[in-house]
Symmetry: C2
């Protein structure tokens, strides 16, 4: 049986909808999901007991989906089953985002669970390579997409961000800590009118058992408001939520969507 | 004798003020400077005659300073002295910014002139390493500056931009085609309150005979409005215009300015 540890955002509900069978939806106290109802809510300080409860429920696979904030630990709330995990948990919370995630995944695996990424549990979250929209990218867009891939590769190597906007092979927006949506809102104030594309790809080093980057209808709308003429995603590397609505939004707003082979 | 080919912005006037002797100020038609008065204005189509005129005036050194737009060429206006240069000029205009500049510099050198960068002609445009402001950077700022240097190095390698803003070692802004000031204005909408620093450095591959990146009082004011607490420049790599006013603005707004050894 599959347990989904659900954070905020639309991804947990999409995973639950696309996964075979009916997964057990769980949530961490303080980081409850906003779009699914968890059957089990656990405290981070009682992670050990939670894992025992999953085993009793015959869970064998765990999927982490959605955004989760770092918990603040109340040492007095740590229970006996969690005590042996404390050194690993402390190290996890002191690490960067990637390191923290790897440590948590390590705890689940150590306890005998298989940890699966959202797109492994629900492969339908990834779209096939190609262009599913009415508008197709042109030759200039192909050059801009290639430039975008180079820029994001350089950004990923320096751990800056995972998306950029490119026009005439020049970076007109570069994602920072605040994410893709913030970048697109900033770009509404662009001094060069319109044109160009959004490029998004996963970090090469990203642990693929955790969430891939994600876009949805609001990304399409933000890209259109920023004056961009299309969206290019690394095929197999970016989750597309609510895919029919995304394609419809692109067609309505005159954007192309291109799932591009890396 | 030195000739300054002056574009727009404050740099040509500062070069003229700091250079020894009284340089001959020249300008290209269509790209006239806004802060100095040129004695000679030449058409790009008559570059050959212009170079002959400089020689007649006993000019031996040329400094390109300030911003110049790419000219549109009127083939019927090309004069006899410029005709032999046409193949090189055509290639220059078809190249990227760096390539175009190198080609133009090559023409001047071929004609026997020594091409000097603004900071070579007027070394006072660069500030000495150190912290000339009342506020000094702290330990966290030092870590952020190091991260900023890494980010700009990665950005430069991919030809994205030459500055970024860093807070807690994360990129909260990354310069794009629209430049440092645009980045700082965007950052006014930051969701994380305030803090962090602006880091700016030249591209390693930048042809040092052309302009280094530049800051001035408006950069300090924009950084303060963006909630940043300091500015870090690669020492010897960034021109500071109106230096006393820049330090005074930092002191007034509570920012540190750190000329950091690379």
């Amino acid at each position: 049986m599959l347990a989904v540890i659900a954070g905020t955002g639309a991804l947990p509900a999409e995973v639950a909808a696309h996964a075979p069978g009916r997964p057990l939806i769980c949530a961490m106290a303080g980081a409850e999901p906003d779009m699914v109802d968890p059957e089990i809510t656990f405290r981070f300080e009682q992670l050990g007991s939670f894992l025992e409860r999953l085993k009793a429920a015959e869970v064998t696979e765990i999927c982490l989906a959605g955004a989760v904030r770092r918990p603040h630990i109340d040492p007095s709330a740590i229970d006996a089953a969690t005590m042996p995990l404390v050194p690993v948990l402390q190290a996890a919370l002191a690490a960067g985002d990637d390191g923290a995630l790897r440590a948590i995944i390590g705890i689940f695996e150590q306890a005998g669970f298989a940890v699966r990424a959202a797109h492994e549990v629900a492969p339908g979250l990834l779209m096939a390579a190609g262009v599913p929209t009415k508008v197709q990218p042109g030759e200039l867009d192909k050059a801009d997409a290639e430039r975008g891939a180079d820029i994001v590769a350089a950004m990923s190597a320096a751990d800056i961000g995972q998306s950029c906007a490119v026009r005439k092979q020049q970076a007109i927006a570069v994602e920072n800590l605040f994410g893709t949506d913030w970048m697109l809102v900033s770009l509404q104030q662009r001094p060069d009118g319109q044109g160009g594309l959004l490029f998004k790809a996963p970090k090469p080093a990203q642990d693929r058992r955790a969430d891939l980057p994600t876009i949805g209808v609001e990304t399409v709308e933000a890209a259109a408001k920023a004056g961009l003429s299309g969206i290019v995603l690394e095929a197999g590397g970016v989750i597309v939520l609510d895919q029919d609505a995304v394609i419809a939004a692109c067609d309505r707003l005159g954007l192309f969507l291109w799932l591009r082979e890396a």
